[in-house]
Subunit: 206 residues, 2 copies
């Protein structure tokens, strides 16, 4: 199966399934069903079965899914059965929260380099790392084979930071700055903006 | 048109369109097209036209969209042509970043109450607000008619916080804690978890 055959919207649901399965596994549960998963996530069980069917057969009719098996398969499909090195740029409130965030562990990611443009911050420790000058980013990320970056820099410099990331070989960017980034073909950007999440919910409020 | 007729996935794209339009407007642009919007957002122009067609006619064939008009209509549809009061719970790194975040202004939201469980934080100022005891949350949010909450509390207390929110009449929750929340029917939850964003991109990496 070529990656291009499967809609990105389906790919986007797989991490959500994986998170729900991990919570079940952590609670000691061994078997689930598309019905139970759907209930927990507010997605129809038919949609879940259809999404998973793109990748093969993961459960037997009537017996449900073995959670550990489905987790393994989803991790393999999403390529998080390994640990990806990640660069973090911008060590303000959001950057610090990301360094302290416990949720990366065992989910496929490790922040291996932290950057800022502020001379007062460069050289300071942050977690196990030392903040590096953002000007050195292309060289550092290329050397460490970093393909993923999280940009938590101010909006007015976020595009410049993205350009440096691309220059260093980064191919996936999670952007916390409230602007759209222009990147070349082949580089993916995901945006995280509290307002777009909130606006999606106000539609339903009265 | 009843809200229930339109798929949530369509609703979820409208804030993204609105953000892109606002950036164009800020740059002085007055007219755009589904083609240009699609190019900027990586969505097909046909999809954009189809999404908007759920809500009426916003442009003339061949002349494109007047940006200010389309912004007005999207704000009205999403009900962000007003200012919603928002409660924030958990004043750690993420909570502080949210208080300082400049992106709420003019986009439909204002944080009107901040809560924490830590006695050392309660009573302290944060931005223009004073941190309140989370135990008082149901009463405070009901009094201020707050229907929207952002939970930036630790994972182990996030469900308790969500319960307090629901008790106070909150009907939309943006959750920063890396757990799934159980809420009654009629309450919506959006999750913001950097890992699910990152995992959606690793699928495409090699």
């Amino acid at each position: 199966m070529a990656s291009t055959e499967i809609p990105d919207i389906v790919i986007g649901r797989l991490p959500v399934y994986l998170r729900a399965l991990s919570l079940m596994a952590a609670a000691g549960q061994e078997i689930t069903s598309s019905h139970e998963l759907g209930e927990k996530l507010g997605i129809s069980s038919a949609q879940i079965r259809k999404d998973l069917s793109h990748f093969g057969e993961f459960g037997k009719q009537g017996t449900g899914y073995r959670i550990s098996h489905l987790q393994d398969q989803l991790r393999r499909i999403l390529k998080v059965d390994r640990e990806w090195p990640v660069a973090l740029i911008g060590i303000g409130d959001v950057g610090q929260a990301l360094v302290r965030y416990g949720g990366f562990r065992n989910r496929g990611f490790r922040i291996v380099a932290a950057f800022d443009a502020d001379p007062a911050k460069v050289g300071q420790p942050i977690g196990d790392l030392t903040i590096q000058d953002v000007a050195t980013l292309p060289e550092v990320v290329r050397e460490q084979n970093v393909q993923i970056a999280m940009i938590a820099a101010p909006a007015k410099v976020a595009q410049d930071v993205a350009d440096l990331c691309v220059k260093g070989g980064v191919r996936a960017i999670l952007n916390y700055a409230p602007i759209n980034l222009a990147v070349p073909e082949g580089v993916r950007v995901q945006y995280t903006d509290p307002v777009t999440h909130l606006q999606r919910m106000t539609y339903y409020l009265v």
